[in-house]
């Protein structure tokens, strides 16, 4: 188990940097905004290079790069101030589809590995915050198939998905269903999030599905979701790590060049020390994300779960702090969309609102750590 990047990882990182900066440089400058890569173009380019789904198993069209490569990918994407849909369009559905033995699931997973985003996971419900263990959406037996009723909210990439993976209570358990977007009774309503990405709410009214639509049964769904959201949290922590690295780098450069009251901003010791503290926070986050990647690489253990929760609890706080400081240290220009530094705050916020607050991940961490200790 090593912390330093492997040759594969360095290669992927370089590849990402090239593609991302090329996409960025060639992107149009509209309405005074900083050039941002068009998401679809970016996705297909990365898909072509094989990195988009490289973390997925062979059977799902990936190249088995595992958590370390997912980290490399997410961290690289985190450095770019643009929405890319990795977690909502690739990680969450990818984990679930790769676990399934169905042919339709495998086909969808292979499309995801190319950079397409045909599937979105609908697991959150109004008022339930981050608890997905007891959905109010219900699945009832209906002839050979199922009838579903309920409401879903905050579905990432849901505005453009062709198919949804929908969680629903079945008996005492939670099942997962594959539901095409056009299914009668399913109403998809899109709305923008604060970072400009499109999300959706779903209203499910007597949606009937064939038996084959069930991806996971009531004895499996909850565990599948937990694993998917653990990997999502890991990718999010990696993405926020990349975001922090980029934001601090840009800020340090700015401090060195911008003059105020006749001297470079960097000459202010109070600002130097703030940068030093941010660097220290980021070093700790980096260490923990790497630790989580290594633990996950050994398998989906309690230790891996606690390491991921620890990484994300730190990422939420460090991401928020670094982004706020980066904006502030840029002064007024930091407040503009044009500069792009504010995007790091938008991103950190969206990831934590969606996947869980620092408190949420600390509670998850402690439970996993205690279970681990009891098991030992």
């Amino acid at each position: 188990m090593r912390f330093a990047a492997s040759e594969d990882e360095v290669m992927v990182e370089d590849m990402l940097d090239r593609v991302l900066s090329a996409a960025r440089d060639s992107a149009p400058r509209i309405d005074g905004q900083a050039p941002r890569p068009a998401p679809e173009e970016l996705r297909s380019k990365l898909g072509d290079l094989g990195v988009w789904g490289a973390w997925l198993p062979d059977s799902a069209g990936g190249s088995d790069g595992g958590p370390r490569l997912l980290m490399t990918l997410a961290r690289g994407l985190g450095r770019v101030p643009a929405h890319h849909g990795l977690i909502g369009g690739c990680v969450l559905p990818g984990v679930l589809l790769a676990r399934s033995r169905g042919a339709e699931a495998a086909a969808l997973a292979r499309r995801i590995a190319t950079g397409a985003m045909p599937v979105a996971l609908a697991a959150m419900e109004p008022g339930a915050r981050w608890d997905m263990s007891a959905p109010q959406t219900r699945a009832e037996r209906d002839g050979d198939g199922y009838r579903l009723n309920g409401t879903k909210i905050h579905v990432a990439e849901g505005a453009t998905a062709e198919t949804f993976i929908l969680s629903a209570g079945e008996g005492e358990g939670v099942s997962l269903f594959l539901v095409p977007a056009g299914t009668p009774g399913l109403t998809v309503a899109a709305y923008p999030a604060t970072d400009g990405s499109q999300w959706a709410s779903l209203r499910i009214s007597d949606v009937t599905l064939p038996a084959t639509a069930r991806l996971a049964g009531p004895g499996e769904g909850a565990a599948w979701l937990e694993q998917a959201f653990t990997l999502a949290a890991f990718a999010a922590a990696s993405e926020i790590l990349g975001s922090c690295e980029a934001a601090l780098r840009q800020t340090v450069e700015y401090l060195g060049t911008r003059e105020q009251f006749g001297k470079a901003l960097a000459a202010n010791q109070a600002l130097q020390f703030r940068a030093a503290d941010l660097h220290t926070d980021i070093e700790m986050l980096r260490s923990q994300v790497l630790g989580a990647a290594n633990a996950l690489s050994q398998g989906y253990s309690l230790r891996a779960r606690s390491d991921v929760a620890a990484a994300m609890a730190m990422a939420v706080q460090t991401g928020d702090l670094v982004a706020r400081e980066a904006i502030h240290l840029h002064g007024a220009i930091g407040m503009t969309r044009e500069l792009g530094i504010g995007y790091h705050l938008l991103r950190a916020d969206v990831l934590s609102r969606w996947l869980g607050s620092a408190e949420h991940f600390r509670a998850t961490f402690l439970r996993a750590a205690e279970e681990e200790e009891e098991a030992a």
């Binding site: 309405d31 005074g32 905004q33 959150m124 109004p126 008022g127 915050r129 981050w130 409401t151 909210i153 905050h154 309503a189 899109a190 709305y191 923008p192 999030a193 604060t194 400009g196 999300w199 959706a200 709410s201 105020q260 009251f261 202010n268 109070a270 600002l271 706020r324 904006i327 502030h328 002064g331 007024a332 930091g334 407040m335 503009t336 969309r337 044009e338 500069l339 792009g340 530094i341 504010g342 995007y343 705050l345 938008l346 916020d349 969206v350 609102r353 969606w354 607050s357 408190e359």
Partner: protein, 395 residues
């Protein structure tokens, strides 16, 4: 502090009654959510205030002021905020009005003051430039005499509400001699004047908040200069001492606390309302305590102002802490909302979220983003710390 408790209560009741009679529920709702009420509603509200004699209570009586002492002015602001009244025409009422009364000539006063009071003109402020923000004295936009006009060239940036305004008061360089502050003049500019162009600047969260103005050989009559040539710096700095009390922005914090408290009864953590969750309660208590201390600090400042006529560098203490208190409340609100802080304000235009998330979620995230700005504008937090270091601690 010569106001008796009973007359204070009566005055507060009078304001409450006025708001009850005049404040449209939609206007209050928007204000409570930190949203702008829009120009039409703002003008309507200002007319009602003017009709009551409260359109610009701090102004001289001859221009529509109410003749109140500082304590009464302070209570007025607090109560208006507490009842959800919108803040309208700040640049008209709190900036250019007082400046013209103190430094304008008779013609400027007679023409501009009534129009500013009624919002016939809408003003914005042209101080900052790309290289002159915290270090304002380094501003470069120059005005050169040409007969009865100045020819103005340069650019002004970070102009809040510039896209809604038709007039700008600005600082321009009329001399390069002596210390930098000494060569600056104060000009009134009609934004319809040929040669002025405007570029919108979007905030990082997407909203159109700021603007940049370009001046390309713009003719401004010398008659529109306020005060003497090269005396603009002092004029710009001569804000009403009474306004410095509001550096703490405690009235805005109080509104936010109301929002947080309402949400805490609506949002559930586990299976209970947040207000019953021990950890949320501890956070709420932190926010309430620091706001209460800030309010006491503001009252102390008011007492000092009444006693001594000024509060000096104490305003920096109020600003430094007031912004932090506001920002922590912003954060507490989005944290309590959790996933429901995801949707952008624009999501309320459709029905995707109807009945699914609390209405108080609207604009919660954006409000937090907007409030990053006051930590930079009007003297950054670092500038305030420097003032405290130099002028209070004498380090």
């Amino acid at each position: 502090m010569n106001m008796q408790m009973s007359s204070e209560a009566a005055f507060r009741a009078e304001i409450a009654e006025f708001c009850k009679q005049n404040l449209d529920p939609e206007m209050r709702r928007l204000s409570d959510l930190g949203l702008s009420v829009g120009q039409d509603m703002a003008k309507d509200w200002q007319q009602r205030l003017v009709a009551r004699g409260w359109g610009a209570p701090a102004w001289d009586a001859q221009w529509g002021g109410a003749g109140w002492d500082m304590r009464k002015l302070f209570i007025f602001e607090e109560e208006m905020a507490a009842h959800g009244a919108p803040q309208v025409a700040t640049f008209n009422i709190k900036m250019i009005g007082p400046i013209l009364q103190a430094h304008g000539d008779a013609a400027q006063q007679a023409h501009f003051l009534p129009r500013a009071l009624r919002m016939d003109d809408v003003w914005c402020q042209g101080y900052s430039e790309p290289g002159a923000g915290s270090d304002l004295a380094s501003l470069q936009t120059r005005a050169e005499r040409d007969g009865d006009d100045y020819i103005v060239n340069g650019t002004k940036i970070w102009t809040s509400g510039g896209h809604l305004a038709d007039h700008m008061f600005c600082l321009v360089r009329t001399s390069r001699e002596g210390r930098r502050q000494g060569g600056i003049s104060f000009l009134l500019t009609d934004l319809a004047t040929p040669g002025i162009t405007r570029r919108p600047i979007r905030h990082f969260y997407g909203a159109h908040v700021f603007n940049q103005f370009f001046f390309d050989n713009v003719r401004v009559p010398v008659a529109n200069r306020v005060g003497q040539e090269n005396a603009g710096w002092g004029i710009a700095k001569s804000l009403l001492e009474h306004e410095r009390l509001f550096s703490a922005r405690h009235t805005e914090a109080r509104r936010k606390l109301g929002r947080l408290t309402r949400l805490s009864r609506e949002v559930k953590i586990g299976n209970r309302p947040a207000i019953e969750d021990a950890q949320f309660r501890d956070d709420l208590a932190k926010r309430m305590i620091e706001l209460r201390a800030l309010e006491n600090a503001t009252m102390r400042a008011l007492e000092r102002l009444v006693d001594d006529g000024g509060i000096g560098p104490y305003a920096s203490v109020l600003k430094l802490r007031g912004i932090e208190v506001n920002q922590r409340l912003d954060r507490a609100i989005v944290q309590l909302l959790g996933p429901d802080a995801l949707p952008a304000e624009a999501a309320w235009e459709g029905d995707a979220l109807d009945g699914l998330i609390p209405d108080e979620a609207r604009n919660a995230a954006e409000s937090r983003y907007w409030w990053r700005g006051p930590a930079i504008a009007g003297g950054s937090q670092e500038v305030q710390r420097t003032i405290i270091t130099k002028h209070i601690l004498n380090l």
